[in-house]
Symmetry: C2
Subunit: 184 residues, 2 copies
DNA sequence: TTAAAAATAGAAAGGTCGTTCTATACAGTT
DNA sequence: AACTGTATAGAACGACCTTTCTATTTTTAA
């Protein structure tokens, strides 16, 4: 197996385990074992566990981002409804137990600034993206609308833990239609 | 200091630290030090760390519950708006970094069934409470309304981590008014 | 006042953690 | 064929974790 596929395997396994059991709940030993890799191979690619966490977050952000972006671009209905639909589909496919970035903020605030910043900046970028979306659709209060959309999406993610992604998606979309149907 | 106040002190300190740094992020050593208590005093009251976590959750649930309950009872506007207002005030006073019960579910699913159940049952009780609230107000779809309210509240809690409790509360209440103003 | 109960500080046990080290094996390139 | 870079397994390290133990002191109550 080549160098790059081993790094990929490590990132992939780490992301799954971190998401499933939390950053602190997973030891490097487990990651190494499940990725079929030696200890020094991990340390050859990542100087520390925290740097591994950083790269996992960056990779996950990229994936979420392109997912959301492409879904909204090719859709035809209101971009806010599309954003909610895209987020719900993401939840069904990749999340079922809370949000990894929020979790990173909670876990690493006061512990590791770099990780905290990566997670916070992801959320800020999302907010800005929604704000721009609102502006392009001639809404006169883009900041408020973006925050409300974010609140809805965060609520949907949390509800996934409680009632599952399918039901959470149904409620979320229903609420979005009430809240955002006045936008184009 | 009497026996019972020591136990109270332990629970109070543990709740604060667990909430601030997560269950796994806090060691018994820190709890013992900040509660000004000896190791064996803790183990005299709680047979293990996990049992301490359980009692912390039960105590927090009781407090949240009576907070919400009394706020809704004495209010005069729509009970759903009141529920959102009560939850927002709770967030301002006691939470600023996610929800302890959701966190417990994430952390202890597959690890400690008792803790997971306590946290899940709290959420279920809340849902039932909202459902009953909807029924009493002659709503024809109490389950849906309860779930949507819960989604809104969970979203508000998450947003607190991102933009603070005050702004999250503003958006939450604004959304609640759009969503639930049709109820009595 | 005296005996039982509870709290104390601190060490120790036994485990896991992240990280480093060692010594060996295997790949590709020249 | 020899060199270079990388992967390997696994031991070792020091730190920290939860839990237990010990031996001493303080509190409580008859």
């Amino acid at each position: 197996m080549s160098r790059s596929t081993k790094k990929d395997m490590l990132l992939q396994v780490a992301e799954r385990l971190f998401y499933e059991h939390g950053f602190r709940g997973v030891g490097l030993k487990q990651i190494i074992r499940e990725a079929n890799v030696a200890t020094m191979t991990l340390y050859n690619h990542f100087p520390s566990k925290n740097k591994l966490v950083e790269e996992v977050l960056k990779r996950r952000e990229e994936r979420y981002w392109s997912y959301l972006d492409s879904y909204i671009e090719k859709g035809s209905s209101s971009p806010f409804i599309l954003a909610v639909e895209a987020h719900c589909r993401w939840l069904k496919e990749h999340s079922y137990k809370g949000d990894m970035f929020l979790r990173a903020i909670e876990d690493y605030t006061g512990i590791d600034d770099e990780i905290e910043n990566i997670a916070r900046e992801h959320k800020i970028r999302l907010l800005h993206y929604f704000q721009q979306l609102a502006q392009e659709n001639w809404d006169n209060n883009p900041l408020d609308l973006a925050n409300q959309l974010t609140l809805l999406l965060e609520g949907t993610t949390s509800m996934t833990t409680l009632i599952g992604a399918d039901k959470a998606a149904d409620y979320s979309i229903a609420m979005a239609k009430v809240l955002f149907q006045h936008t184009s």
